[in-house]
Amino acid sequence: MTAGTADLAGRNRRRRRNTPYLLLLPGLGFLALFFVLPMLFLASNSLQTGNIYDGYALTWHWHTYVQVFSDYHQQFIRSFEYAGMATVAALAIAYPLAYVIAFKSGRFKNLLLVLVVAPFFVSFLVRTLAWQSILADDGYIADGLRTLHILSSGGRLINTPFAVVCGLTYNFLPFMTLPLYASLEKIDVRLISAAADLYAGPATAFRKVTFPLSLPGVVAGTLLTFIPAAGDFVNVEFLGDPLHQMIGNVIEKRFLVQTDYPAASALSVLLMAAIIVLVIIYTRRAGTEEIV
């Protein structure tokens, strides 16, 4: 990497040339074995026929894909809808928050950063369970909203799409806030004052300077929120109703309850493919290739 290091190691050039490979081998080998290989197994499983008792055989049965798509396209669409809504909501909540931390927090910056991350020190399942109790029919919030007639007397919060989107928004919020903060914090404030000097009002300065410069954070944050949200099944399980499942629920049940591996694998492959396509289109559109 650096000239000085290379010179000094000159006498041992061959050993040095091998060093990176020796450093990479164990880790990349592990990833090849337990990330890449399983993906191939998944793809292969999706084209097999058989059942768990008699075993499966690879028969290139492409029809499974047609079958699962016609059976579950609704859940696919719903997953992307919920994940999309949660991503927009998370952006709306996190952007002002990250903005305040980056530009207006002064000596409280570190404290605020800790505060933003701290809620996620409560385990994912425990905090989702907490939302289940908070939004419950007997809970204080549902009661209060009924008293105010915002919610009808039989109306509920739990087991609704609203609760699921609320849970998804909440659970993946730090993945939105932190990249936004990172890119806002890098902005040279003199650029914003230059915009003001050139008679841009605060809104114009934000629209023409601050926001475009924070775009890498917006892209990274929306992706890091959307991807886990689209594949999640815990929020539906805790906060939603069985009639409005996401694709993650279908995959989980198909694998672990029905042990219908070919169909479940095909659904997994479809989800992965859909997300890759969406990510590529989105990053092209947003005009930045820099994701992390």
């Binding site: 650096t2 450093l23 880790g27 903005y99 570190n110 841009a200």
Partner: protein, 294 residues
């Protein structure tokens, strides 16, 4: 970049500036309101963030008789005094801690080595390596979990589903996060410090041990803490590969159907405070280190 701040923004000239340089009392008042709107909004966002935390802390003391801990019915220390009274919960906690420790050691070791190779060496296959590090972070957990399941249930697999398959899964998804964290720290390092050590006749190994590693250590520690947190918290990937082993998140998942013991909130509060203490130590350590270098 600066082109986006082009002078073409000749909208109606307004006097209030977004940076401290108010020109009149009126604009100062306007700015005050504007500033505090965003701050009030941020405060609301924080309230949203802390609502479940407040619930978990408060309802760990709730003397509840309902299966689902939803309304306040009186204060009690019972659950804090007997956190392990719920059958199976503390056993699951122990398993999660063991898994966390194994995943942390494994992933920190493997990931740190990759980070060193990426920052300190030129080699063929850099782009492929970066892609292989990035992909696990961009893959939905259901896909990773289910693909590992198809690997482990294959007849040729020597490992039955259980503790070690979970450990492998956790090391796997932790590696990328370790690489990214350590890489960031390594890139921020002044290469002249290592050059100086070598100029003073330190061998490459001595340089690594006496100069590079101590300087990178904060990054490695941060990576290890992150790896532990991710492993301890993971549910979806674990769910696919656990066999009959029950980790703490899996225990909580089961509890949501059977009824929620308030002790879950005790454990939630404990992990919250522990993580907070670690963060505070980290912040203090960083503050002291930066003062020393200044």
């Amino acid at each position: 970049m600066a082109a986006t701040a082009a002078p073409s923004t000749t909208s109606a000239p307004r006097t209030s500036a977004p940076v401290p340089r108010g020109r009149s009392a009126g604009s100062r008042a306007l700015r005050w309101v504007r500033n505090h709107i965003t701050q009030a909004y941020a405060a609301l966002a924080l309230l949203f963030l802390f609502l479940p935390v407040a619930y978990v802390l408060l309802f760990s003391f709730n003397n509840t008789s309902s299966r689902f801990n939803e309304r306040w019915t009186g204060f009690t220390w019972t659950y804090w005094r007997h956190p392990c009274a719920v059958p199976g919960m503390c056993q699951s906690l122990k398993i999660s801690l063991q898994l966390g420790a194994i995943a942390t050691v494994g992933a920190t070791l493997l990931g740190t080595m990759i980070a060193f190779a990426l920052v300190r060496h030129r080699f063929l296959g850099r782009t492929a390596t970066n892609l292989l590090i990035f992909l696990p972070m961009a893959t939905p957990e259901v896909v990773m979990g289910s693909s590992l399941l198809t690997l482990f249930v294959n007849q040729a697999s020597p490992l039955p589903l259980g503790f070690w398959t979970i450990a492998i899964a956790h090391i796997m998804f932790d590696i990328s996060f370790v690489v990214v964290t350590v890489k960031a720290r390594l890139q921020g390092l002044d290469p002249r410090l290592e050059q100086a050590a070598m100029d003073l006749y330190a061998t490459p190994l001595q340089t690594l041990r006496r100069v590079t590693l101590p300087l990178v250590m904060p990054g490695i520690v941060a990576a290890a803490l992150l790896a532990f947190a991710l492993s301890f918290d993971d549910f979806i990937i674990t769910d696919f590969n656990a066999g009959s082993v029950v980790t703490f998140p899996m225990f909580v998942y089961g509890a949501h159907q059977r009824g929620v013991p308030p002790q879950i909130n005790v454990i939630g509060s404990l992990t919250f405070f522990l993580a907070l203490v670690f963060t505070a130590i980290g912040q203090l350590g960083r503050g002291r280190a930066s003062r020393k270098h200044a």
